[in-house]
């Protein structure tokens, strides 16, 4: 429960209607898309503008009340689970696109806009916003920025970070910060924009963003290539890139994943293949044709037994949409699906796939692997049941081993989902002591009372996952 004084002050700022603290409301904001994590907040607040947010933050900072900014709650690292209670901040009223600037090729938006809406709006004008995380139909752009979301087009176009030019953010002391702008070049001081992107709500609250746009590529082709051997598929990935072709999308799905995705989407995926690569290239039409042809040849050289190029735009879209549903579709097989996003240099993909399967075998676990093979970002997904405590322990051990392997291969523990609470115990593997210390110092300098999304990023000795207080009893 919030102290009465805090509650009164927040209501004064946002009005009664946008302050909720019933059990029902607290419960429905106690989770995100991460399995095994749930915790009740003390209140849910939906401010209307930056000024209101600044005032709310000042109140919370004075009373040391945690604040958790939350978009649509689709993240996979427990980043928006209010582990230490406090105020969950919603952006449902801050959901306007403020400007599309066709001269400077930028879009300025509030954080609550759905990612797909941004894509629709700019594509109507012949422009292109490339980051396309799996949940783009649901996710809010503010969440994408805070998590530095990736997506299927990361290989060629990079991730959210590469498109954020400027931000407005409320700092933990209530000050309003402006960084960057509609600028291609800007070296005035530290790059605070990049610091905030991917900061998972631990440094401040992003209230407005200016994003970079590209011209929309005129042509696009999608191909599906089928392999008998999972390692040959992985090798084809490295080969394509070694031939100096950078496809927009280069997705990998193993057989168990193909089977469930097909069952859900019925788009005609080949369930007899041991692995498939979903490849998309965009650009001018001549180059696209040429690239797809070369890619087909390279895949065949790597023992692909079939190469299928989508004939229509609808067919191509059906294939990528089906791929986006992979994770959720996997949960048809077992009650709980836990996935990770360990990432390696793309040249190590074949080794990583091999290592993942060995680890799964060692711990006797069911695993499905899919992911953005082109950028070395795989999603090994364990199929399990939260009620089976013993198996869950094995899953955790297996993941730890996967993380260690990834780092050994020159990779990282998380490519695009973020550290959140889920991966904080492993962050040291990637950063070492110096890395963690530097980040902690930054955090404390900006947020000395540690009110911003506490319990994330930095590991605590005792990890609490499910914290639900039986307040009503």
């Amino acid at each position: 429960m919030l102290p009465d004084e805090v509650k009164e002050q927040i209501i004064e700022i946002v009005g009664e209607q946008d302050f909720q603290d019933s059990y029902t409301n607290k419960l429905v904001y106690s989770y995100d898309a991460t399995p095994q994590f749930q915790a009740m907040p003390d209140a849910i607040v939906a401010p209307h503008n930056t000024e209101q947010i600044a005032q709310i933050v000042k109140v919370c900072n004075r009373f040391k009340i945690p604040i958790v900014p939350r978009g649509s709650g689709t993240n996979l690292s427990a980043g928006t689970t209010p582990l230490e209670g406090g105020v969950v901040l919603l952006f449902k009223h801050m959901d306007k696109i403020l400007e599309i600037d066709e001269e400077n090729l930028t879009i300025t938006t509030q954080p609550g806009v759905i990612t797909q809406e941004i894509i629709n709006q700019v594509e109507e004008r012949g422009l292109f916003y490339p980051p396309d995380p799996g949940s783009l139909n649901i996710s809010q752009i503010g969440g994408n920025i805070n998590e530095n979301s990736g997506g299927l087009r990361g290989l060629k176009y990079g991730v959210t970070r590469d498109y954020v030019l400027g931000l407005e953010a409320v700092l933990p002391n209530g000050e309003i910060l402006h960084t960057g702008g509609k600028l291609a070049k800007d070296v005035a001081g530290y790059d605070l924009t990049r610091l905030l992107v991917g900061s998972e709500g631990t440094l401040g609250i992003i209230t407005e963003a200016t994003l970079k746009l590209l011209p929309l590529p005129p042509a696009k082709k999608t191909a599906l290539t089928l392999f008998e051997d999972i390692h040959m598929a992985a090798k084809a990935v490295s080969d394509i890139i070694a031939h100096k072709i950078i496809p927009a999308t280069l997705e990998f799905l193993d057989q168990p994943t193909i089977k469930v995705v097909e069952e859900f989407s019925k788009v005609g995926l080949p369930t007899h293949a041991k692995a498939v690569l979903l490849i998309e290239q965009d650009g001018d039409s001549h180059k696209v044709e040429q690239d797809i042809k070369s890619i087909s040849t390279i895949c065949k050289q790597n023992e692909a037994f079939e190469v299928h190029v989508a004939q229509t735009k609808e067919e191509a879209e059906a294939l990528t949409t089906a791929r986006r549903a992979a994770l959720s579709a996997l949960s048809r097989l077992k009650p709980t699906t836990i996935l990770e996003d360990a990432t390696v240099p793309r040249s190590e993909i074949a080794n990583m796939v091999k290592a993942i399967n060995n680890i799964a075998e060692k711990y006797e676990l069911d695993i499905c692997t899919f992911g953005h093979a082109g950028d070395g970002n795989l999603h090994p997904t364990f199929l399990t049941d939260v009620r089976n405590k013993e198996e869950i322990e094995r899953v955790e051990k297996a993941f730890e081993e996967i993380f260690i392997t990834a780092v050994e291969l020159g990779g990282t523990i998380t490519g695009e989902h973020g550290v959140g609470a889920m991966k904080s115990p492993y962050l040291h593997l990637k950063l070492g002591e110096a890395g963690i210390n530097t980040m902690k110092q930054l955090k404390l300098a900006l947020d000395p009372n540690q009110i911003m999304n506490p319990g994330k990023m930095f590991a605590k000795s005792n990890r609490k996952k499910v914290v639900i207080k039986h307040e009503y009893a």
């Binding site: 419960l27 989770y31 649901i138």
Partner: protein
């Protein structure tokens, strides 16, 4: 709700809710953009499928009490099941909702007046075709005598809440109920016999919408079907199932299974999306009664919507024609989400010569009728209807075609509400097709 009721509800949640199904929701949020109440409440998670499932699980886990607000969240759900086809995990949300509502309604004391109304409607009226027809005859008397005119002239309907007032305006002119009573039990096809089908007449469809039922029979005959109409059939029980009266629904299901057994038909045809989806789910409804499961399953497998049958019989390749008009289609949620039938009605409409078919934006989003939802959750229902009418207007349609009586009335109310009555009409797909078939036939004759 008092403490005792809450405890009982919680206990029954723990006993009866399908925990595997609750866990099957992995909270990915893919359902959110499909949920009309989530969108209309300005993205309130408590009014989303993911939120409702979390609440059900919260009650089972003992993390939250089943209080008024939990009930409100479940009551606010339209039950349109738009979240099901978009759910990659394949959660059977409709089943969860039905069970949860049944537990709450069976264990909560309802106010005396409400209880009486529910009892009359659910037990005394819908399962009794004759009584329902008698009541509808009263409506006919009201419409045909001068009473309606007097009431309207004196603006007596003003005492009614606005939705009921609209409803009074748009109720169809009821034909004589004798038509249903003198109907033959087996009707021959008008052309070469292609199929032998049974017709599920429904309750409202066979009283208030009797003329649409008569058109359905005619259409089946045109399409080459021998039509069997067993007279011991009753209401499908969907309204009961969706409103927390599951036991009553089960009894009705059994009567219908008996009525349609041993008829030696290819299909059992329905013309109401809501009924069809409930009928083809009888095996789930009766899953705990072993002696019924097999019988229910073979019943379920025969259920088919008329539009799906017509396409199978290539009716859309026959000559269908109408004077120029723009036509659009409003999906029946349970026809689309419960029976995966959404291409067939469009195929049929598209084949009517002389007309333009224009697809409306979000045609598959619920219209807000949802059984008796528009009467009990009027405010939300009207918000949803306003959105629907905005999309309808944008198509410039002269005709909105629907495939379920509830949707039909709701769209009629929408037209009335928007003051579009002089340029737009709402019609059941069956009536529209009979119109097109007969227009084309007459044209050829002359």
């Amino acid at each position: 709700m008092n403490t005792h009721e809450k405890a009982r509800i919680q206990e029954e949640f723990q006993q009866r809710m399908d925990y595997d199904e609750l866990l099957n929701c992995m909270r990915c949020g893919f359902c959110l953009p499909s949920c009309p109440t989530y969108l209309e409440t300005g993205k309130d998670e408590a009014h989303s499928p993911r939120g409702r499932i979390a609440l059900m699980k919260g009650v089972v886990d003992g993390n939250i009490e089943p209080d008024e607000e939990v009930k409100k969240s479940l009551d606010m759900c339209l039950g349109c099941r738009a979240c099901e086809p978009v759910c990659p995990s394949g959660v059977n949300y409709g089943h969860l909702l039905e069970e949860a509502r049944d537990i709450i309604y069976q264990n909560q004391k309802t106010p005396f007046f409400q209880k009486i109304i529910r009892k009359i409607a659910f037990k005394g009226l819908f399962p009794k075709p004759k009584r329902l027809r008698r009541l509808t005859s009263l409506l006919r008397f009201y419409q045909k005598s001068k009473l309606q005119k007097i009431v309207r002239t004196l603006k007596l309907t003003k005492i009614l809440p606005s939705t009921y007032r609209l409803m009074e305006k748009v109720l169809p002119v009821v034909p004589k109920m004798k038509e249903a009573e003198k109907r033959q039990k087996v009707l021959e096809p008008f052309s070469k016999k292609k199929k032998r089908v049974a017709f599920f007449t429904g309750c409202l469809m066979d009283s208030m919408f009797l003329s649409t039922n008569q058109s359905t029979i005619k259409l089946l005959q045109y399409a080459g079907c021998e039509v069997v109409i067993p007279d011991n059939q009753i209401c499908c029980g969907a309204l009961h199932g969706h409103s927390g009266e599951k036991e009553q629904a089960k009894e009705m299901a059994k009567k219908n299974i008996e009525a349609f057994e041993n008829l030696n038909v290819d299909y059992i045809i329905t013309n109401a999306g809501g009924c069809g989806a409930f009928l083809n789910d009888y095996h789930h409804l009766l899953k705990d009664e072993e002696e019924w499961t097999e019988r229910a399953t073979s019943f379920d497998q025969k259920i088919k919507d008329i539009s799906s049958l017509l396409v199978e019989l290539n009716f859309h390749k026959q000559s269908l024609k109408l004077p120029y008009q723009i036509v659009t289609y409003q999906d029946s949620c349970h026809l689309k989400n419960g029976q995966q039938t959404f291409m067939e009605p469009r195929q049929l409409l598209d084949s009517v010569q002389g007309t333009d078919y224009v697809e409306m934006k979000d045609a598959s989003r619920c219209c807000g009728s949802a059984g008796i939802y528009n009467l009990v959750q009027t405010e939300m229902s009207m918000k949803i209807l306003d959105y629907k009418m905005k999309q309808t207007r944008a198509t410039h349609a002269n005709v909105i075609v629907t495939a379920n009586p509830g949707c039909l009335l709701q769209m009629k109310m929408g037209i009335e509400k928007e003051g579009l009555a002089d340029k737009m009409r709402a019609v059941h797909i069956v009536d529209y097709l009979v119109e097109a078939y007969e227009y084309s036939k007459n044209e050829r004759v002359s």
